[in-house]
């Protein structure tokens, strides 16, 4: 097993290298001069030139790239042009917020998506099945910003039930210890803090979870239907096993394994959705941070957040592969 993990990580290296090249080069093509931004109105040519030198924008590209790599290895992602703080610190400060909604969204998606997929597959062409198919198709077709807008309109504007922005009530002050609002709220012992955090989580996580839940539901339904036409299932039925033993004992087990992979793969798309969701719900995560950085032409932050998104995704796919390998010995063999 240890071998497998090492091999999996090694296989990742060339990809990681290309990812770094992409991340590095993408901001070099952006029009506009960051030095002019930093200095603000009234800056002279020589000040701009001095700053360009300080930011190393004038060095040969290869040298810039090598220095970028050396920096990364030491955990240095440069400094934000806007705040002047280290990008790594800025991202770390915002990462918990993104992880918080992502984790909740994945949980919701699994809890909702898998059961409806199973129920739908075990009653093919029933009314419920048709409903699930249509709703889940809407779920994968709806733009995240439209869903967010609808939920805001319904639950906040018209019903006045749920808050639409931030991680907790503006009046609550909870000492930020871990950066995870729920944990901090619990640590603070402040009455109502946990409740406030949960209430604020409902809408943004629902928007994020919708796409994943719909994808998962569709996937589980399809694979279960396929598995149930397999010969061994027919054999099992012929041998007189009860229907539910066949469905839950065989078909389900065989379709859940690929479902794990789907969660892993679609997790990336969900992270992409975090940019929209966080921007709409004023959620202080790295998605919104990236969006703001693009508006401000904050080179190092755009690089840092893009890279972190890619790393998060690569990490997820490795973890998914490992889980897969643990559950299915055949996969381990294949990597050899």
């Amino acid at each position: 097993m240890f071998d497998f993990v090492i091999r999996r990580l090694l296989a990742l290296m060339p990809v990681l290298f290309v990812v770094l090249v992409i991340v590095f080069s993408l901001v070099r093509f952006i029009p506009g001069d960051p030095a002019v931004t930093l200095l603000g109105p009234g800056a002279t040519e020589s000040q701009v030139a001095a700053l360009r030198a300080q930011l190393n924008l004038d060095a040969p590209l290869l040298q810039q790239f090598l220095e970028y790599l050396t920096g990364l290895i030491q955990g240095d992602m440069g400094r934000s042009l806007k705040s002047g703080k280290p990008v790594a610190d800025e991202i770390l400060a915002r990462l918990p917020a993104t992880l918080e909604i992502s984790v909740f969204a994945v949980l919701i998606a699994i809890v909702v998506g898998i059961p409806i997929g199973i129920l739908s597959a075990t009653r093919p062409n029933s009314g419920f099945d048709h409903l699930v198919r249509v709703v889940s198709l809407v779920g994968v077709s709806i733009p995240a910003f439209l869903l967010a807008l609808l939920l805001q309109l319904i639950f906040a504007t018209w019903l006045g039930l749920l808050p639409v922005s931030g991680r907790m009530s503006a009046y609550l002050f909870v000492e930020p210890v871990t950066g995870f609002a729920l944990i901090d709220a619990w640590l603070s012992g402040e009455s109502g803090a946990i409740r406030s955090v949960l209430v604020h989580l409902v809408l943004p996580t629902s928007v994020l979870a919708a796409f994943l839940a719909a994808t998962l539901g569709r996937f589980v339904r399809t694979t279960m239907l396929e598995v149930m036409t397999e010969d061994y299932i027919r054999t099992a039925r012929a041998k007189g096993l009860t229907w539910s033993t066949v469905v839950y004992g065989h078909a389900l087990r065989n379709s859940l394994l690929p479902a794990i992979t789907v969660v892993g793969l679609k997790f990336a798309e969900m992270l992409g959705g975090a940019i929209l969701t966080e921007t709409i719900f004023a959620w202080p995560g790295i998605g919104r941070f990236m969006f703001e950085a693009i508006r401000n032409r904050d080179y190092p932050v755009i690089q840092g957040t893009t890279l972190v998104f890619a790393l998060l995704f690569m990490l997820t796919s490795v973890v998914v592969d490992i889980i897969h390998a643990m559950l299915d010995p055949r996969v381990r063999g294949k990597m050899r």
């Binding site: 009234g42 503006a170 009046y171 209430v199 921007t279 703001e292």
Partner: protein, 517 residues
């Protein structure tokens, strides 16, 4: 099952949450702002609105504009001051017995330290505080500042956030990190900053003008304007800052707020000007012909813009100064080109140009207000046969375009940060500064440049006004741009908020006198 339980709980709880939080935090004021603050300390501040306002609440300046008129300066850390005949020497008597939040006593040496530090760190103040030749602290309460040349707006500069007084001990302790740990003498102490989330300020019970009425002031970051308004309506926040100036407030929502007894609207005219501006020193632009510039100015439906998009939250501008400026020349209201598409077409014909082959890009800022403005101007220009392509550009790129002079026509605006015509005229139209900032890029013109410089340095206020009158007439005749509108400063607040006074130049509010009932 468990999750459903939690969710159900959460839903029920939400109905109660707002109420309990408010009861618990009756003396906390939550102010919604559109973005993270920048430059929380004078040494690095470059007039970013949110950071600047926080500075004015955490720090004090020597002088400040007196509410509610904001036309006279009053002493803050300075008790009194005298200005020499030649307008170059300023003597201050400073307040005694004031201490910084960290316990360091405030004295003349800390003023000298603060000014010298800001001058060294902050390129933004080069044209203003940079005029200081020497600062002398003759005793803890006596200070003398000498300028290298007369500058009548100097006292206004001292009311600016960049001129606030910092604790020398705290600067020594935190160094570069002072911006994350700002320490001043102001009514509120800096408590906490969470990225993209909030800034928390706690009351300073020992404030020299008396403890503030609030116990805590929270700046809550909510980027989307409609979300801010929704939060205000639902009681999630108490105040929305600077509404009209950064985003168009839909007429319908203004009306809904006006009828809502839980919400009050505080309005105040500003000196901000938004314009459609030409690059007046482009080597090859159709707008080098004054008739073409005039045609564009006649093409804009000014009243339609004010009524349709701004619904009374903005007022008309006729020339380079707003009509509430003390130097405003009323004659320009008649001289300025009005909406007249016929005349615009005639002028274009007279100039013998064919707009079809201009291939113009209309540059503008991003955001809904600027998008709406660009859409409106686009349609107005199309109406007289000028086809432009809208290019909404991120601020840095936009500024680079401007300072490089690559644009021909652009939507722009200037927000004066001190209460003096100098803030509009010198930076906007003096040819020596043409490519130093986002200006009208005026070509060199000995007469006009001379007028601008003498107006800037004249210490006799009546003579200055005369000079600015002349400058305004000359500028309006040259049509360096089409002056579109001046947005009002609009603050929305819950009705139980009292004591809030909206400041216009700079558009920053102090919360010392604010209370929640």
């Amino acid at each position: 099952m468990k999750l459903r339980h939690i969710l159900a709980n959460a839903l029920v709880a939400s109905c109660l949450a707002a109420g309990s939080a408010e009861a618990q935090e009756a003396s906390t004021l939550a102010v919604a702002v559109p973005s993270d603050p920048r430059g929380l300390e004078p040494g690095t501040n470059r007039a970013w609105p949110i950071g600047s306002e926080i500075i004015l609440n955490v720090f004090d300046t020597l002088v400040a504009w007196t509410p509610p008129e904001f036309s006279e300066l009053e002493g803050r850390l300075a008790e009194s001051w005298t200005i020499s005949e030649d307008g170059m020497t300023f003597d201050f008597i400073l307040r005694d017995g004031v201490t910084f939040h960290d316990g360091t006593p405030f004295d003349a040496a800390s003023v000298k330290f603060s000014f010298e530090r800001t001058m060294e760190l902050n390129a933004y103040v080069k044209a203003t505080l940079g005029l200081i030749e020497s600062i002398e602290a003759s005793s803890p309460t006596e200070l003398t500042i000498r300028l290298s040349r007369p500058y009548p707006a100097f006292m206004s500069i001292l009311a600016q956030p960049q001129s606030a007084i910092v604790s020398p001990a705290a600067v020594a302790e935190h160094g570069d990190d002072f911006t994350n740990n700002p320490v001043g003498t102001g009514p509120f102490k800096f408590r906490d900053y969470q990225a993209d989330t909030r800034v928390v300020l706690d009351a300073n019970p020992d404030y020299f003008r008396g403890a503030p009425k609030l116990s805590r002031l929270i700046y809550s970051v909510i980027p989307e304007a409609s979300t801010r308004r929704l939060e205000l309506e639902n009681g999630g926040i108490d105040v929305i800052q600077q509404s009209g100036q950064l985003s168009a407030v839909p007429l319908e929502e203004m009306e809904a707020f006006a009828k809502n007894p839980d919400i009050q609207i505080l309005e105040s005219p500003s000196q901000i000007i938004r314009q459609l501006e030409f690059n007046n020193s482009h080597p090859d632009s159709p707008f080098n012909d004054v008739r073409v510039r005039r045609a564009v100015a006649h093409a804009i439906d000014y009243d339609g813009l004010l009524g349709g998009i701004f619904g009374g939250t903005a007022s008309r501008v006729y020339g380079p100064l707003t009509s509430n400026s003390w130097a405003f020349n009323p004659k320009v209201t008649e001289m300025a080109p009005g909406y007249d598409p016929e005349k615009a077409r005639a002028l274009l014909a007279e100039a013998g140009v064919d707009p079809a082959d201009w291939n113009l890009k209309l540059y503008g800022f991003q955001g809904s207000l600027w998008g709406a403005l660009a859409t409106f101007v686009h349609a107005n220009l199309a109406d007289v046969g000028i086809d432009v392509e809208i290019a909404q550009t991120e601020f840095p790129t936009y500024r680079a375009l401007h300072t490089g002079g690559e644009h021909k026509i652009a939507l722009d605006g200037r927000q004066p940060w001190y209460n003096d015509p100098d803030a509009h005229i010198t930076i906007g139209y003096y040819s020596g500064l043409a490519d130093s900032a986002m200006t009208f890029r005026m070509p060199e013109d000995k007469e006009l440049d001379g007028l601008i410089l003498s107006a800037q340095q004249e210490s006799d206020m009546d003579k200055r006004r005369e000079l600015y009158f002349e400058i305004q007439e000359q500028l309006v005749n040259r049509v360096p741009g089409a002056y579109l509108f001046s947005p009002k400063l609009i603050v929305f607040a819950r009705s139980n908020v009292s004591g809030l006074v909206v400041n216009s130049a700079p558009p920053l509010n102090e919360y010392w006198s604010v209370a929640k009932n």
